[in-house]
């Protein structure tokens, strides 16, 4: 038990001292890495032309990846990390727009379109039948 704890502690120490380490390497825990990965694909690289931080070569994207992995490794929840980034960089950073008064029409659009479409289609069926 102790035998593998030591290298793990050393690893954490290295991670804490060099933040860029996690820019291009994964977290040891696959579950945490998957959580970080799922979050990173939904965050926008702020200096790129429409790429997520998960698929950008830009330095800033690398720094943000390191930051996301570190916070997830520390046990923070993905939602909290996103909120922290939004507080820092604005809503622009999130590809998953939070539901607000301004974005409500966007999120309601699929349902609204479906309802309108069904009404149009149904009405045309009824009209055709009569």
């Amino acid at each position: 038990m102790r035998a593998w704890l030591l290298p793990l502690a050393a690893l954490t120490l290295v991670a804490a001292t060099s933040p860029a380490r996690y820019a291009n390497t994964q977290l040891a825990d696959p579950a945490k890495e998957a959580e970080a990965q799922a979050l990173m694909v939904t965050l926008r690289c702020l200096v790129c032309q429409g790429q997520s931080i998960a698929d950008s070569d830009a330095d800033m994207a690398a720094d943000m990846r390191a930051l996301v992995r570190q916070r997830i490794a520390r046990g923070e929840r993905a939602g909290d990390v996103r909120d922290w980034l939004i507080a820092r960089y604005g809503e622009y950073v999130s590809y998953d727009p939070p539901l607000t008064a301004l974005t409500a029409p966007l999120w309601l659009a699929p349902i609204a379109l479906l309802v309108v479409g069904l009404i149009v289609a149904r009405a045309s069926f009824r009209r055709r039948r009569s």
């Binding site: 926008r44 429409g50 698929d55 699929p110």
Partner: protein, 639 residues
């Protein structure tokens, strides 16, 4: 001289487009038969002149004529010939010239080969085609002259964005443009039919091959573009819900809906107004896409050729054409009689469901793409990306897959629910089996990916069900086309879901000699060596890959350095195996001499593009089948 000849050809083409519009107008207002007969040759002339202008630009690029501004800004004499040619459309002016060239050629093609449509609607169609061409010629001549000269020719050019120096780029935009602009034919047919009040099965039968043709190219263009982004951008992604990708997806969605509704109009004389509307919408989406890409109003990975000041010009053209067509639609649609009636449970009903769901997806993509612009008008900068589109469009797309599986098994006119249930027994059983297998064996990544795997299996079985119990030798070619295209959707869906569910990723910093694992593979980083290309130098990594006891193979990802313009790109090395692709990328080195290495094992990812190719192949068979039947009918009529 060549540049001036090209510019002259462009001016002449614009004048001929004006002539085409005026002649068509005069002919339809009761002009003499000679006027009516003159429209076809005029349209052919316009197409030839546009092609001539385009070929002049190609010649200027091939000869690296540095007295032409466009060549200076986008080319370099040291580039390989293929990229000197593809550089013609790797920039704003050249790509717009390609756009109007395709438009002119489409008009010429209608004039040359369309003989099924009556003469009056045909002339109205050519008039509409001339009107569209005129606006875009004006845009080129007044706001985007590709033949502008420089006063002091430099010794050499600035070069082409290295990302675009790839065989994929040489073919992807022309293919996509054939699709985009090919849809202008459907638009002009719709306008022509509205002008001459001639919306009916004959109109639909004449329009269908054109829509099919444009749709095949659009499908191929999107598939190729997706694969290009996948291997060239170096992060293993194949679709980013980027505004420019959406701009190509929207016309495809509209064209797919149109393809199905036009069949209802051709066979059952239903959905008249809706089909005309869709034809207008499909090309409007092409124009909106052009506006989004060319204006640079949205930031995008494709933002290599934009100029905001030109956006206003295209926006004005957009308002003119879309607004004009919609106004005409509103004026005339009252005079178009409603088509025949049909039952809820019928092939027609299934096709209405297809159109409903495709239109909703189209609406979602359009709203999601434009929403950041709307929000910024309210002073809020926000991003709408993959999470939104997955959540909003994903479930509707899966519902569409269910409709697609059942639709071809429903009879025309009227069907019974119990009879349909009987025909669906085997596909439903296959879906059940797949559900069991996915629950037991597949890792759960998301509802969307798991549902995708299950439905792909069900659809694969259902899509070939229309062939059961038929004499395969006597099955019409267009039925084969439908079956293969629908099977292609199943294959592509399987690839997408498998990529989402099964991908394995290894990101490490490695020294030469180190060994890492990814999925079932052991990968050894052997070392690095320099490599040279025609206009780049590179550092090439060598990785030996071993899977179990099988013979090892080697991957060679590169870091490429281009001198002109100075850029570094990473060239992924991809091994295609029967059950997926192993994808390796070489990144930068850190101070300790360790290299960033990214490895992905992507099981069955190739199915995504194989499916796309099958969809296009299905379209091609269907087109051949329709043409063959039309020819047979024609011969019978004369026999």
């Amino acid at each position: 001289m060549i540049a001036e000849a090209g510019l002259a050809a462009l001016w002449l083409a614009a004048a001929v487009a004006l002539l085409q519009l005026v002649l068509a107008g005069v002919a339809l207002r009761g002009g003499q038969a000679e006027v009516l007969a003159a429209v076809r040759p005029v349209a052919v002339t316009g197409g030839v002149l546009a092609l001539l202008a385009f070929l002049c630009l190609v010649a200027v690029f091939v000869r690296s004529d540095m007295s032409v501004l466009l060549v200076v800004e986008n080319s370099h004499s040291a580039k390989p010939l293929l990229y000197r040619i593809s550089g013609v459309w790797g920039n704003h002016e050249g790509s717009m010239l390609l756009w109007v060239t395709v438009l002119g050629l489409a008009g010429a093609a209608i004039a040359r080969i369309e003989h099924r449509l009556d003469e009056r609607p045909l002339v109205a169609t050519l008039g509409a085609q001339g009107a569209i061409a005129l606006g875009f010629f004006a845009f080129l001549l007044f706001a985007s002259n590709p033949f502008a000269r420089v006063a002091q020719p430099p010794a050499n050019g600035l070069g082409l964005n290295p990302l675009l120096q790839d065989p994929g780029l040489a073919f992807h935009p022309p293919t996509l443009y054939l699709g985009y602009v090919g849809l202008s034919v459907a638009f002009s047919f719709a306008v022509g039919a509205l002008v001459t009040r001639d919306v009916g099965p004959a109109f639909a039968r004449a329009m269908r091959p054109w829509v099919l043709g444009a749709w095949i190219f659009l499908t191929l263009g999107i598939t190729a573009g997706s694969y290009w982004a996948y291997y060239e951008l170096g992060w293993g992604g194949w679709w980013f819900w980027d505004p420019v990708e959406n701009a190509s997806l929207m016309p495809w969605l509209a064209a797919t809906a149109l393809l199905h509704s036009v069949t209802v109009l051709a066979t059952r004389d239903g959905l008249r107004a809706w089909t005309v509307m869709l034809a207008v919408v499909a090309f409007s989406m092409s124009m909106i896409g052009t506006f989004l890409v060319r204006s640079g109003i949205l930031t995008s990975v494709h933002a290599f050729a934009v100029d905001p000041s030109r956006g206003t010009f295209i926006l004005a053209l957009l308002a003119l054409y879309i607004g004009g067509a919609l106004a005409l639609f509103a004026l005339r649609i009252g005079t178009v009689k409603t088509g025949t009636t049909f039952e809820l449970l019928s092939r027609e009903g299934g096709l209405v469901l297809n159109n409903l769901l495709l239109s909703v997806i189209l609406g979602v993509v359009l709203i999601g793409t434009l929403y950041p612009i709307v929000a910024s008008a309210f002073g809020v900068q926000l991003s709408v990306g993959p999470p939104f589109f997955d959540k909003a469009a994903g479930p509707i797309a899966l519902a569409l897959v269910v409709a697609l599986a059942a639709g071809p098994l429903v009879r025309w006119r009227r069907d019974r629910w119990d009879a349909l249930a009987g025909r669906l027994l085997v596909p439903v059983a296959a879906t059940g089996l797949a559900l069991g297998a996915v629950v037991l064996f597949a890792p759960f990544k998301s509802v969307l990916s798991s549902a995708g795997l299950v439905l792909a299996a069900g659809l694969a079985v259902a899509s070939v069900a229309p062939l059961w119990g038929r004499n395969l030798a006597r099955t019409p070619l267009f039925t084969w086309g439908m079956v293969i295209a629908h099977l292609g959707v199943a294959v592509s869906l399987f690839g997408m879901a498998a990529d989402a569910a099964f991908t394995r990723e290894t990101l490490i910093a490695a020294r030469p000699g180190e060994q890492v694992g990814v999925g079932p593979f052991r990968v050894t980083f052997d070392g690095l060596k320099p490599a040279m290309g025609p206009n780049w130098s590179a550092l090439e990594g060598r990785f030996t890959v071993q899977r179990g006891d099988a013979a090892p193979f080697v991957l060679r990802p590169q870091q490429r350095f281009f001198a002109q313009p100075p850029t570094t790109t990473s060239e992924a090395s991809i091994a295609t195996l029967w059950d997926g692709q192993l994808y390796a990328v070489l990144g930068n080195a850190d101070a300790g001499g360790r290299w960033q290495v990214r490895l992905w094992w992507k099981p069955f990812v190739t199915c995504i593009w194989a499916g796309g190719a099958l969809i296009a192949l299905g379209g091609a068979l269907s087109l051949l089948g329709r043409i063959r039947r039309a020819r047979l009918r024609h011969e019978e009529a004369w026999a």
